[in-house]
C-alpha cells in the first residue's frame, strides 16, 4: 500500500487553482483509497472511527439486495412478457445488461457534476452522491432511455443539491428530485403499461399487461393485483429496485442494526400508511379503496420509500419526536395521493417530497416546545 500511496502523492496536482478539476478528481480518488492522516489538535484528542464515507457505504450495502433482486426481476419480467422460458442465469444476465448501464450512467454523470462543483467551490468531493447514485437507478422504470437518466441526474444534483450548498445542505431528497423531474418532464416514459417491462427485441404475448399493480388497482381493485405473497416476494412489474419487500427488508435490517437508518421514521411511516389504509377500507366506495391496507403497503414504492428515501437524515426531521410525526405524515399523504388521485398511482414519491418540505416545520415545533419548557422554569422576580 505504501507504493500506491507514494504513487498517488507523486501524481498530486498542485492546488494552485490552475487545474482545479484535476485537483478535485485527485483528491476524491485519494481520499477514497486512503483515509487521510489528519490528527486532532483542538478539543477531543480521540475520535470515533466512523466517518461520512463509512456511513454512506453502509447505505449502499443495504441497497445491494434490492439491486440484485431488481436485476433478476427485470430479466424475469422480460421472459415472462415475451412468453419464453429461461434459466436463472439468463434472466439475471438480461437484467444486468439492462440495469447496469443505468447504474453506470447515474454514477458517472452524477459524480462528474459533483467533481465540477467541487472544483468550482474549491472544496473536497463529498460522499452524498454515493447513495444518491444508487438510489436513482433503483427508482427508475427499466425501459427509461439512458439519456433521460443522465438529464435527470444532472438536474437532481444541480437543482436538488448543489444550489443549496452541497451534501448535507439539500432541502429535498436528491434521488427523488431525479424521479420527480422525469415524472413531470416526460410523463409518458414514466407511467402507463409500456415502460415497466423491458421487451428488448421481443414482442409481448397476447393478453400480457405490463401495468404495475397499482396501475391495475386503480381500475380493478384487489381482484386485479397480485396476491399479497407475490407482492412481498416481488416478482411483479415496477421500478427496478422497489418490487421486493423481502430485499428491501434485508436492507432495512442492515440500516437498523447498524443504527444508520432511523427506525422511528420507517415504523411510523408504515403505521401512518396502515391507519390511513384502514380508514379507506372502512369507508369503501370503489374497488381501489377496498384494497386491504396491509396489502397496499406491500405495493409500489411504499416499502422502498420508507426504508431508503424517507430516512435520508439530511431531508428528514432531525429530532426524535419530529421523526415520528414526519413518518406518520408521509405515510398518510402517500395513501391519500394513491387513492384520491388516480393519475398518480405512485403517491409515495410525492408524499416524501412533501414530507421533506414539512420536516423543518415539524422540527421547529418540537424544538419550540423545549424552548417553552425552559422559559417556564424561569421564575419572574
Amino acid at each position: 500500500m505504501k507504493a500506491l500511496e507514494q504513487f498517488m502523492q507523486k501524481m498530486k496536482p498542485k492546488a494552485d487553482g490552475k487545474f482545479p478539476l484535476a485537483h478535485a478528481v485527485w483528491d476524491g480518488t485519494y481520499t477514497f483509497l486512503f483515509v487521510p492522516g489528519h490528527t486532532n489538535h483542538n478539543g477531543t484528542h480521540i475520535r470515533d472511527s466512523i466517518d461520512l464515507k463509512r456511513t454512506m457505504i453502509m447505505v449502499v450495502l443495504a441497497l445491494i439486495p434490492s439491486l440484485l433482486f431488481g436485476i433478476y426481476n427485470v430479466g424475469h419480467q422480460h421472459f415472462l412478457a415475451i412468453g419464453e422460458m429461461a434459466e436463472f442465469m439468463d434472466k439475471f444476465l438480461y437484467g444486468a445488461l439492462k440495469v447496469l448501464p443505468i447504474v453506470i450512467i447515474s454514477y458517472g454523470v452524477g459524480l462528474g457534476v459533483e467533481f465540477v462543483f467541487a472544483a468550482i467551490n474549491k472544496h473536497a468531493i463529498q460522499e452524498g452522491f454515493l447513495v444518491s447514485g444508487m438510489l436513482i437507478p433503483l427508482i427508475m422504470p427499466v425501459d427509461v432511455p439512458l439519456w433521460m437518466v443522465a438529464v435527470a441526474t444532472i438536474f437532481a444534483v444541480v437543482i436538488g443539491k448543489e444550489v443549496f450548498g452541497g451534501t448535507g445542505m439539500n432541502v429535498v431528497n436528491v434521488a427523488l428530485v431525479a424521479r420527480a423531474f422525469l415524472f413531470f418532464a416526460y410523463p409518458t416514459k414514466m407511467s402507463g403499461d409500456k415502460v415497466w417491462i423491458s421487451l428488448g427485441d421481443g414482442t409481448a404475448v397476447d393478453g400480457f399487461s405490463g401495468a404495475t399493480p397499482l396501475g391495475k388497482a386503480v381500475e380493478g381493485g384487489v381482484e386485479a393485483i397480485p396476491s399479497i405473497m407475490d407482492s412481498i416476494i416481488g416478482l411483479i412489474p415496477g421500478s427496478i429496485g422497489e418490487t421486493s419487500v423481502i430485499a428491501i427488508g434485508l436492507g432495512a435490517l442492515i440500516l437498523i442494526l447498524t443504527g444508520i437508518g432511523s427506525f422511528r421514521i420507517m415504523l411510523s411511516m408504515f403505521v401512518g400508511g396502515l391507519l390511513t389504509g384502514l380508514v379507506f377500507n372502512a369507508v369503501g366506495g370503489n374497488p381501489y379503496l377496498e384494497v386491504p391496507a396491509l396489502h397496499q403497503l406491500m405495493l409500489g414504492g411504499f416499502a422502498f420509500g420508507a426504508v431508503f428515501m424517507a430516512t435520508d437524515p439530511v431531508t428528514a426531521s432531525q429530532t426524535a419526536k419530529g421523526k415520528i410525526v414526519y413518518g406518520l405524515l408521509i405515510g398518510i399523504i402517500a395513501m391519500l395521493i394513491r387513492v384520491a388521485n388516480p393519475a398518480y398511482p405512485e403517491g409515495v414519491m410525492l408524499a416524501i417530497l412533501i414530507g421533506n418540505v414539512f420536516a423543518p416545520l415539524i422540527d421547529h415545533v418540537v424544538v419550540n416546545a423545549n424552548i417553552k419548557k425552559r422559559l417556564k422554569r424561569v421564575k419572574i422576580a
Binding site: 483509497l33 484528542h45 480521540i46 466517518d51 432531525q318 424552548i371 422559559l375
Partner: protein, 450 residues
C-alpha cells in the same frame, strides 16, 4: 433534600492505560508555569518581573477585568521566563523552584468562626479563587456575585480519569474545613455530588454542611454541567459556582495552615505509559520529571483527559485545572480503505459500523487520528445519544455557528460548557470541532450580554 440522579445517555470510552491505585515514587518539581490561557476570557496583567523572587502564594498576575482575582505562584522560587505571543499577549509565567518551600502566610482559622468577608478575602488573596468557576459561560467566578448554589463534584467519568475517592481517602478533616469555608460564600445550597456507581469515600459520606447527591451512569455523568442540569438547572440571570472536590482540599489547607499549598495528586495514564499510576505533584508542574523513563516514544501528551484536555509538549506543564496527565499514541498515518465498515479489530465506534459493538468490555488503544474529513451535518441523532440534558444539542450548536444569540439563549446556552459536548465531538460523523464552537459562542454571549 438530596437527590439521586441516574444518567442513561452517554458512554464510557474504555481506553488502555488505567492508573493502578498506587502512588508512584515522588519526583522533585523543578519548575512550574501558570498559563493565562487556562482561564477562558482572562485578560492578564503581570505583577512580577524577570528575576523576581516569589514565595508560594505570591501573586504573578491578576485579572484586568476584576483586579481582586489574583493568580499566585504555586511554589517558591524565581521568575525565570515570561513568554509572550502575538500583540504581546501574555502566554506563560515560569517559576523555577528554589527548594526552600517558603509560603506566604494568610489568615488561618476555623471557617465557621470567620465571617464571609474574611473568608472571601483570604481565598482571593491566596490565589485559590480561580478554582471557583461559574455557569453560565464556564469562566472564573465573579466574587461579587451571589450564586444560587455551589456545586462540588466528587467524581470524574472521563476516560482514564483519576478516582476522586482514592485520592480523597484519609483527608476527611481538610475536606470538611474546605467545605465549611465554601458554605459561607453562598446563601443558597452547597451541593456535593458523589459517585453513585460506587460506595463513596468516608470523606464524602461524612461531609456536613452540604447536600449530598448521588450521581450514577456513564460519562458525562461526572460533568458538573450535567449534574446541575438534573439537580437544579441554571436559568437566564442566575449564576452557580462549581469546583472539583479535590480543589476543596487546597481551600481546606489554606484555612488550616494559612498557606497556599498547590500540591495535588494526578493520574498519570494512557496506553503509552509504562506503569500508569497516581503521582504527587504540584499545580502547573513541569511534566519532564514524571514522564522521563516512564513513557514509550511516539506519544501525545495531554494535560487533562483525552476528550477535553490540552495538548502539551513532552517537557510541557500541567494545566491549572487538570488532575490528569494522559499519554496517547500519536496518529498521523493514512489508513488504506480505512472507511470500510467492520474492518480492523482495534477500531472503536459508538455506531455499530465497527466490530467494537460485539465486544463492549474490550479496552481500546485509540490514537489521535481524526478518522475522516470534516463535512456538513448529515447524520442525525448521534449527539442526542451521548448528551444527557434536556437540550437539543445539534440545534444549539447550529445556532452557535451562526452566532444567533437569541436562539442560543432559548436553546440553553447558559447551561453548557465545552466539556459537555466532548462526547458529541467524539461521536461526530461530520468531524466538527464542537468544543471550539461552544467555547467561541460562550465568549460571544458573555461579551454581548454582560
Amino acid at each position: 433534600m438530596s437527590k439521586d440522579v441516574k444518567i442513561r445517555k452517554g458512554t464510557n470510552i474504555k481506553l488502555k492505560g488505567v492508573a493502578e491505585k498506587l502512588y508512584a515514587n515522588p519526583v522533585q518539581v523543578s519548575d512550574v508555569v501558570l498559563r493565562p490561557d487556562d482561564f477562558p476570557n482572562l485578560i492578564p496583567k503581570l505583577c512580577v518581573k524577570l528575576g523576581d523572587k516569589v514565595k508560594a502564594g505570591s501573586p504573578l498576575f491578576y485579572d484586568k477585568g476584576n483586579e481582586q482575582i489574583l493568580f499566585t505562584s504555586p511554589i517558591s522560587g524565581e521568575v525565570v521566563e515570561i513568554n509572550r505571543g502575538d500583540k504581546r499577549r501574555l502566554l506563560e509565567v515560569k517559576v523555577k523552584a528554589d527548594g526552600a518551600n517558603q509560603f506566604e502566610t494568610f489568615k488561618q482559622g476555623d471557617p465557621n468562626s470567620l465571617s464571609k468577608e474574611e473568608i472571601l478575602a483570604t481565598i482571593l488573596k491566596s490565589g485559590v479563587w480561580p478554582f471557583f468557576r461559574q455557569r453560565p459561560y464556564d469562566v472564573i467566578a465573579n466574587p461579587s456575585d451571589s450564586p444560587k448554589a455551589i456545586y462540588i463534584t466528587a467524581m470524574d467519568t472521563a476516560p482514564l480519569a483519576p478516582d476522586y475517592d482514592f485520592v480523597m481517602h484519609g483527608q476527611d478533616e481538610l475536606f470538611q474545613i474546605g467545605l465549611d469555608a465554601i458554605a459561607k460564600l453562598t446563601d443558597g445550597k452547597v451541593h456535593l455530588n458523589v459517585n453513585g456507581n460506587d460506595n463513596p469515600d468516608d470523606a464524602y459520606k461524612k461531609a456536613k454542611n452540604v447536600q449530598i447527591n448521588k450521581i450514577s451512569g456513564p460519562h458525562p455523568a461526572g460533568n458538573v454541567g450535567v449534574q446541575i442540569h438534573h439537580i437544579d438547572p441554571v436559568n437566564k440571570g442566575e449564576v452557580v459556582w462549581t469546583l472539583k472536590s479535590l480543589d476543596v482540599l487546597t481551600i481546606g489547607k489554606l484555612f488550616k495552615e494559612g498557606k497556599f499549598d498547590a500540591s495535588r495528586v494526578i493520574s498519570f495514564v494512557g496506553s503509552k505509559v509504562n506503569a500508569p499510576k497516581y503521582v504527587r505533584t504540584i499545580l502547573g508542574a513541569n511534566i519532564s520529571g514524571i514522564v522521563t523513563g516512564n513513557v514509550e516514544d511516539g506519544g501525545r501528551y495531554i494535560s487533562g483527559n483525552p476528550l477535553s484536555g490540552k495538548q502539551i509538549p513532552e517537557n510541557g506543564y500541567l494545566g491549572f485545572y487538570d488532575y490528569q496527565l494522559t499519554v496517547l499514541p500519536e496518529g498521523g498515518n493514512t489508513q488504506f480503505f480505512g472507511w470500510l465498515p467492520f474492518t480492523g479489530l482495534n477500531k472503536f465506534s459508538l455506531s455499530r459500523t465497527a466490530l467494537s459493538f460485539l465486544t463492549p468490555n474490550k479496552t481500546y488503544d485509540l490514537n489521535t487520528n481524526v478518522n475522516g474529513e470534516e463535512r456538513a451535518y448529515v447524520v442525525t441523532g448521534e449527539y442526542e445519544k451521548v448528551f444527557p440534558m434536556d437540550i437539543y444539542p445539534v440545534q444549539l450548536v447550529k445556532s452557535m455557528m451562526i452566532e444567533d444569540i437569541d436562539k442560543m439563549e432559548a436553546l440553553g446556552v447558559y447551561e453548557v460548557a465545552p466539556e459537555d459536548f466532548a462526547l458529541c465531538e467524539f461521536a461526530c460523523t461530520s468531524k466538527i470541532e464542537v468544543q471550539r464552537v461552544v467555547r467561541e459562542a460562550l465568549d460571544l454571549v458573555r461579551k454581548e450580554c454582560s
